[in-house]
């Protein structure tokens, strides 16, 4: 048996689609924050929302668990199971994961990826351990960054606590340790609806060889066009513009396609 000459098939055409990712906040197994889809029976039901988004053409979902107490996290596991049972697109769950066993419980409940943030800042070894145990594809490093006079710095607790970690250094370090993807949220842009932080995103995206998800600042469909044209990030995430129906995913994806951005329709 002769092996095919793989070099012969080298091609420059990359058809990998850019991903559109709605982010849902969940607390005690229920979605929070205003969601106003017209035909929604229960806006607090993560499964129904996930199903709606997946039907609209979302490529992936992120659930951010803001459940305060440890006991209530069992509810989150049940929620993850229900989502996995009924949704046929990949999803990530983040929030409160600080040990291998937290991640394993989520994996076994059907989560495709987990995202870690402050726990990794406190204990960077967690990235190595998770990557080794479950594979790099399972480990998303979420980074909240803010621009200060002397550079970009990692922040914790929704931007309230500054760290001494320079954003670029931390991301490079995390990639070496085994992070499989970076979810970069600009705290300067988050909530402003003035567009993604394309300058920083381009810099980070060019620096790493793992996928980057842009987050923070989405206000219009044009912001998504800009982030993909100007930075070549792999995915863009938003919450409120999708939840409040200000941007409809089918229309957004059509616009991206019309602008010659590779997108799954």
């Amino acid at each position: 048996m002769e092996f095919a000459q793989t070099e012969f098939y080298l091609t420059s055409s990359i058809l990998l689609s850019k991903r559109i990712i709605p982010c849902l906040d969940v607390k005690d197994g229920r979605t929070v924050k205003g969601i106003n889809f017209v035909d929604l029976r229960d806006a607090g039901d993560p499964v129904e929302l996930a199903w709606q988004y997946s039907n609209q053409g979302a490529d992936e979902l992120v659930f951010l668990d803001i459940t305060a107490t440890h006991e209530k996290r069992k509810t989150t596991i049940e929620m993850v199971k229900s989502v996995a049972r009924q949704i046929n697109i990949p999803f990530t769950i983040g929030g409160g994961i600080s040990e291998l066993k937290d991640a394993e419980a989520l994996l076994n409940a059907g989560a495709d990826k987990i995202s870690i943030n402050s726990a990794a800042v406190r204990n960077p070894q967690l990235i190595d351990d998770l990557a080794k145990a479950f594979g790099v594809q399972f480990v998303v490093l979420a980074v909240d960054t803010k621009h200060l006079v002397h550079g970009d710095f990692v922040h914790l607790n929704g931007g309230r606590i500054a760290t001494e970690l320079q954003t670029q250094d931390w991301i490079k370090n995390a990639e070496e340790r085994g992070a499989g993807e970076i979810l970069l949220t600009s705290m300067d842009k988050d909530g402003t609806k003035s567009g993604f932080d394309n300058t920083l995103l381009k810099q980070i995206n060019d620096m790493v060889s793992i996928p980057v998800i842009a987050s923070g600042g989405a206000g219009s469909s044009q912001d998504f066009v800009d982030v993909f044209k100007k930075t070549d990030v792999d995915a863009a995430l938003a919450a409120s513009v999708f939840h409040y129906g200000e941007i409809l995913i089918p229309e957004l994806k059509q616009l991206l396609k019309d602008k010659n951005i590779e997108i799954r329709i």
Partner: protein
């Protein structure tokens, strides 16, 4: 009924959930005798190919798997196990398909893992891809790929290099993507497998 080889390589919750949604009956295969219960076999797999091969070897089911004549579907690493060798840990695998599993090299500016939705080109007449059009998107997550081979590749995909999105040799099928995470197209593929 579909039997899933239970060898501890990765989580199968999403796969069983997808089969459940499609009303396809399934069960777990833990011993040689269990293979007789089912008419279709799935070999799942996530993570390190070498580790997965070690776990599969430890079950003692390898000779039985190699002798199977019923339809078998390897998914992701489960597909890679069907090949002869993987660069991941430089492991010898089941060698059902005379192909190699290679690592994506840093071609141009391509990122590894190859993660996300990519288009495939399936062979039109292949029963696994009935109703699945050319350029349909499927969800991929992998850093290693099976080389393209005109004799065994039944669906191809491009990621800086043309590689096997799906392979077949006789009753052995494999898909690199995750049908259980690939929307309606993925569910159709699972149905097609169940109908082989």
């Amino acid at each position: 009924m579909i039997g899933i080889v239970n060898y501890g390589a990765g989580n199968i919750f999403s796969l069983t959930a997808a089969l459940g949604r499609l009303n396809l009956n399934y069960g777990m295969i833990n011993s040689e005798d269990d293979f007789d219960i089912y008419d279709k076999i799935i070999i799942p797999g996530v993570g390190h190919a070498g580790t997965a091969m070690q776990k599969l070897t430890d079950t003692g089911l390898v000779p039985k798997i190699k002798s199977l004549t019923k339809p078998v579907l390897g998914i992701c690493v489960g597909m890679q196990l069907l090949t002869g060798f993987s660069e991941e840990g430089n492991y010898n695998l089941l060698d059902i398909l005379p192909l190699k599993t290679l690592r994506f090299k840093e071609l141009e500016s391509k990122k590894v893992p190859h993660m996300g939705w990519n288009q495939i080109s399936p062979q039109k007449e292949n029963p696994l891809f009935i109703g699945i059009a050319d350029e349909t998107y499927f969800y991929f997550v992998h850093s290693y790929y099976i080389e393209f081979n005109p004799n065994f590749t039944i669906a191809s995909c491009n990621y800086g290099i043309k590689f096997s999105a799906s392979v077949q040799k006789d009753n052995f099928y494999g898909v690199q993507f995750h049908p259980e995470k690939s929307g309606e197209a993925g569910e159709l593929l699972l149905k097609n497998f169940a109908n082989l």
